[in-house]
Every structure is written in structure tokens, then in C-alpha cells.
Chain length 150, copies 2
DNA sequence: TATTGTTATACTCTATAACTATA
DNA sequence: TATAGTTATAGAGTATAACAATA
């Protein structure tokens, strides 16, 4: 029992270390591009959903509208996005990627795929399949806990 | 080939979602205790390593000495730690847990174990063992990449 | 000289509240 | 009335640089 508990704790520690290394690995290089984590997250949403109002971005990122104003200001200043008037709602603005922003995000998607290949490419098909299955189970349990706690 | 790449990407997305949920789950409740992520990280180090100089804490957390001054200031103000003179080096100060700080960290370790049990307790022994083995492999690859990138 | 920690300054991300323009 | 976004204000975490006290 005690031994089992220690093993579980060790596995959680592995996940936490992986969490930290993964964010370090991803955010490394963002600085050279003039990007930060939150700004990249915003670009990621616009890259996948297309031109979006700031209200939509606030909900997607789970932050206040005021915060989006600041992030978009910075991304306009550094040439990643533009603010355009919304075609039908004159209160709203549409945030779109510039050509530079689109280029950077396309490269980032490729890097994402390369990282995935690097992390999992060394596993056998059986081992990889079992890992995905287990991750799904663990994720479901974690989602359940987070949901229940709200 | 293309299908394989998509599968790898999906697994990486699972890991990233787990990363976000895990930090959300852990930081939930810290606010009620009057703690934040970085302050808790500092307490965690002192809890495990015992009374420590600010220099040691800066290295352990990977942040500047200035930053430690601010975190310790806040933790002293809120009653989690004390600053004591170093017995032999009059330049340095030793940061120690107060009784309250120690109580909170002991409870946090118990919560950590409970979370691990909740996440992995539903897996069979075989499945859990395979998961740990795979995590070890993936972590090694990730550590290798981070090391190589420095 | 080198190291420990602080003061000074600045930037990023975050929040709430009050306000303007529009719906 | 309600919504989209901004200005005003504040707090946390982070950094570098200059400095004081001590090693």
C-alpha cells in the first residue's frame, strides 16, 4: 500500500517535470521572434480560427477583455497582426494575421509536428498506442476532477 | 506516414492539455491560502531542503536574486517564512518555514499524494507500469533536446 | 576581488471599474 | 439595456544594473 502510493507519486512527479520541460522547450525561441507565451497563444487562435473579434479572443484565452487590448496592442506594434473594422458591427474590431504573422505561425505548426515526432518517434507502435490509451484515461479523470471542483 | 504524423501530434496535444489542466488543478485553492505559484514553489524547496539562503533559492527556482527578495518579502508578510541571520556568513540570510508554513506544506504533500492516487489509481498494474516506462523514455528524450538546445 | 542581498527601474501579464460608442 | 473595446489603476512576477556589506 505504502509502496503503491510512492509509485503513484513518482509518476505524478514525472508528469510535472515533463510539464515544466515542455513549456521551457516551447517558449525557448519565442523570445528571438519577439513573442511571449500569451501573445503566441493569441496568434495560435487567430491562425486556426481566422480573423476574430477581441471578444472572441478573450473567451478563447480565458482572460479579460482589457488584457486582449494589451496583447493586441503589442502584436500590432511588432507587426504580427492588424486591427480592421468589423464589416457589420461598428463596435467590434477584427484581428487578422499579417503576412509575417502567418509565416511565423505556419513555421510554428511545423515545429510542433517535429517535436511530436522527436518525442514519440522512438516508441514502438504497440507502446505508442498503449501510451495514448492511458493518457486518455488519465486526462478524463483529470477533466472530471476539474469539472467537479467548479 | 502522414497519418502517423497526425497521431504523434495528437499525443503531444494530449500532453499539452494535461499540462494546462494540471497547473489549473494545482493552483486552484492556493489563492484561498494566500499563495501563488512561484511563492508555493519557493516554500516547496524550503520544505524539502530545509532552511536555505536566498542564493540557493534563486538557483533552485531558476530566477534572479532580486526576484527572491520579493517572493521572500511577500512570504514573510503573510507569515509563511522567517528571515534569520546565517550562523557563519554575515552576508547571507536563512529562510525558514514558520509553523504555519510547515503545516500548509505538509497538507500540500498529502494533497499531492491524493491527486496521484486519483489519477493513476484506476489503472491496472500492468497498464500503470507500461505508462511509467513510456513516460521515462519520453522524458529522457525531452531532457536530451533541452540539454542539446543550450 | 568575488559574493549576498537590496534599491532603483522597467516590462509583461493579469484583474476590476468606469466610460464611450454602438447595437 | 446590453455589448465591444478603451482608459485608469493596481498587483504579481520577471529582468538588469548599481550599490552596500561582507567574504
Amino acid at each position: 500500500m505504502a509502496k503503491q502510493g510512492r509509485e503513484y507519486g513518482g509518476a505524478l512527479d514525472q508528469l510535472l517535470e515533463l510539464t515544466m520541460l515542455l513549456s521551457a522547450d516551447m517558449e525557448r525561441g519565442l523570445g528571438e521572434l519577439g513573442l511571449t507565451g500569451p501573445r503566441t497563444h493569441l496568434l495560435w487562435v487567430v491562425h486556426h480560427q481566422g480573423p476574430s473579434t477581441q471578444r472572441v479572443l478573450a473567451d478563447a484565452l480565458g482572460v479579460s477583455a482589457r488584457n486582449i487590448t494589451g496583447l493586441v496592442d503589442a502584436l500590432v506594434d511588432t507587426g504580427f497582426v492588424t486591427r480592421e473594422p468589423h464589416p457589420t458591427d461598428r463596435r467590434a474590431t477584427l484581428v487578422s494575421l499579417t503576412k509575417h504573422g502567418a509565416t511565423v505561425m505556419t513555421q510554428m505548426a511545423a515545429d510542433h509536428a517535429e517535436l511530436a515526432e522527436g518525442l514519440f518517434g522512438g516508441l514502438g507502435p504497440r507502446q505508442f498506442g498503449a501510451f495514448v490509451t492511458t493518457m486518455t484515461t488519465v486526462l478524463d479523470e483529470l477533466r472530471r476532477r476539474v469539472e467537479e471542483a467548479r
